[in-house]
């Protein structure tokens, strides 16, 4: 634990510069969107040197946090706290079904932490259990930058993301021997979401899915009696036995309730396997962090999280919408009744949780660093983002890392 009156080491001593990736390589990777236009400054071209011990600690934090969150979900559901968790009445049955039957089909998620370096304690900020970004940056960009300068950097990134995703898909195929290995992948159409979805598509093909197709949600045909279909350009109606949606369950539950009802029937009647499973809506809800803290107040990874600002009489907390994304609509309080910083966004009508301020690592330029660990039923990779603001949001920079084994 860091002492209040002792200076924390800045991360600068572990930063190594790397050359920007050649534009031709980025084009070959089909990732120009991540490096051009508004994203021109997104890749930091710096790597952090991590020790095996530090990475192992982040992995352990993820494993323990996942178990805690499942326990918290079980506890909250037993209490019937659906409304406070953000699960609307028409979604309860499917989430219950999913908890009882789909616990081994969580394909992919990502934990966001603070701390993790130079003695700053690791704290769980949230888990992006349902739809998580940063896949291509971690799997391809970080990997390629490391390969370009492997000799200079030494070590290697902790980055088994693609391999673990393939392994997870293989297990899911094996768990469903009666189904055809056909996978449809959908987003709502935003380019960044396609970039992430395409990483999942590549892993699915490698894992043995014979048919992997991508289609924007509005093209997908949902027949509650028969399954999920796509009409191909040649007039064929192709049925898919698996559907990976880069579309949050909370979006479906709140914005498209009829689709939610159709999916409930399709899933319970075993017409399709939807990834991620519906119970990830519970894990995605930041309200669950409150129940986790109630159950395990002494756990070193959990920040105090409550439903009432009055629980923080020192006014040191952040208020976060329970289904907020990308750092939107977060209010940062630092000792006064009024927030000292607020982010804009699309989630200002959602209930919020109040979370104690997390300890971050900083560099001399004032960037705060946020480590993220991917999860595929086990830990599956590490990446960092940083930002010189109080909240890491869409303006963050992506930072690579290497793990150095002590000599």
């Amino acid at each position: 634990m860091v002492q209040e009156n002792l200076p924390v080491l800045m991360v600068d001593s572990r930063i190594v510069s790397v050359r920007p990736l050649d534009a031709v390589i980025v084009k070959d990777l089909e990732l120009e969107w991540l490096t051009t236009g508004e994203n021109e400054e997104y890749l930091s071209n710096e790597f952090l040197q991590m020790t095996t011990k530090e990475v192992d600690a982040l992995r352990e934090a993820s494993e323990i946090s996942y178990r805690i969150l499942l326990k918290a979900a079980e506890h909250a559901v037993k209490q019937g706290e659906w409304k406070l968790l953000g699960i609307p009445p028409h979604a309860i049955d499917l989430v219950k079904y999913s908890l009882a039957n789909e616990m081994d089909t969580h394909l992919l998620g990502r934990f966001d932490f603070s701390g993790g370096m130079d003695g700053v304690p690791i704290k769980l900020l949230e888990i992006n259990a349902d739809t998580c970004s940063l896949l291509a940056e971690t799997a391809y960009i970080q990997e390629q930058q490391w390969k370009e300068e492997e000799e200079k950097l030494g070590g290697s990134p902790y980055n088994p993301l693609i391999e673990e995703l393939i392994e997870r898909f293989r297990r899911i195929i094996n768990q469903n021997p009666d189904r055809d290995p056909t996978l449809l992948i959908s987003t709502l159409g935003y380019e960044e979401d396609w970039i992430n979805a395409d990483v999942v598509a590549e892993a699915a093909r490698e894992a043995g899915f014979e048919e992997v197709e991508s289609a924007i949600l509005e093209r997908v045909i949902f027949s509650p009696e028969e399954g999920i279909f796509l009409e191909e350009e040649d007039g064929a109606f192709v049925r898919y036995d698996f559907w990976y949606k880069f579309i949050p369950w909370d979006f479906i539950a709140y914005e498209e309730p009829n689709l939610f009802d159709d999916l409930e029937r399709l899933i319970i009647d075993k017409k399709v396997v939807v990834l991620n499973p519906a119970y990830t809506m519970l894990l995605q809800s930041k309200a669950l962090l409150k129940y986790a803290y109630d159950l395990y107040p002494e756990n070193p990874y959990l920040l105090k999280t409550t439903f009432s600002a009055a629980d923080f009489p020192d006014f040191k907390y952040v208020a976060k919408p329970i289904y907020g994304r990308m750092g939107e609509n977060i209010s940062f309080y630092d000792g006064k009744p009024e927030p000292i910083y607020k982010t804009e966004g699309d989630y200002d009508d959602l209930p919020v949780v109040y979370q104690e301020l997390a300890p971050f690592n900083f560099d001399l330029e004032g960037h705060r660093y946020q480590p993220s660990i991917f999860w595929t039923g086990m830990t599956a990779g590490l990446c960092f983002r940083r930002q010189d603001d109080l909240v890491i949001d869409d303006d963050a920079e992506f930072v690579g890392h290497i793990v150095l084994t002590p000599s």
Binding site: E30, L31, R110, E126, N128, D130, T131, C132, S133, L134, T187, L188, G189, Y190, E191, E192, D193, W194, I195, N196, D198, S214, A215, I216, L217, E218, R219, V220, I221, F222, S223, P224, E225, E226, G227, F229, E231, E233, D234, G235, A236, F237, R239, F246, I247, P248, F251, E255, E256, N258, L259, D262, Q284, R325, M326, D346
Partner: protein, 177 residues
């Protein structure tokens, strides 16, 4: 990786060429419907002529051996012309200029739409889509006949009920966390 631009053009294409539209509802039976569709084995070069500002009609349709060699040739009033591949034509549906969209829409009223995109469904292009009755007859008797006879007919099953169109207009932001 495929670009989202290509993916998002497909619904527009379907809306234009589908006789029955994207949303179909149950007809009282829970069993699937079987439909026969025709898949072209030949390609098509369609020439459209601008007949008035940004208005086009089909002047000629000729088959080519390979479907990948399909083209739309647009001859403009100012004596200039453009040539578009099938892929370009698809992209132009939504991202093209108004004039380009007009070119593709006009070509699609002939066999380019009805056969190249597999939307025959027992229907045939109307004479009004062509510059003249002669052009219509020639296309029907040669390119149309050839493409129909060489097309592979396959049986498809489509769900008897189903809904689509969910989440439209929501592509302006990321939904990842």
């Amino acid at each position: 990786m495929k670009s989202s631009a290509i993916k998002t053009t497909i619904p527009a294409l379907l809306l234009i060429f589908l006789a029955c539209g994207l949303i179909f509802t149950s007809c009282g039976s829970s069993s699937s419907e079987t439909v026969e569709v025709e898949i072209p084995t030949e390609g098509l070069i369609t020439t459209v002529q601008e007949v008035s500002a940004d208005q086009f009609k089909i002047e000629n349709e000729e088959t080519v051996k390979d479907t990948a060699d399909s083209r739309i040739i647009a001859n403009y009033l100012d004596a200039t012309s453009d040539t578009f591949t099938l892929q370009e034509a698809r992209l132009m549906q939504t991202s093209g200029s108004g004039r380009q969209q007009s070119v593709v829409r006009s070509a699609g009223m002939g066999y380019f739409g009805f056969i190249m995109l597999g939307r025959m469904g027992g229907m045939a292009p109307r004479a009004g889509a062509y510059t003249s009755a002669g052009a219509h007859n020639k296309a029907a008797g040669s390119a149309g006949k050839s493409m129909k006879s060489s097309a592979n007919r396959v049986t498809r099953t489509r769900p008897s009920s189903g809904k689509s169109g969910y989440g439209s207009g929501k592509s302006t932001r990321s939904y990842g966390g």
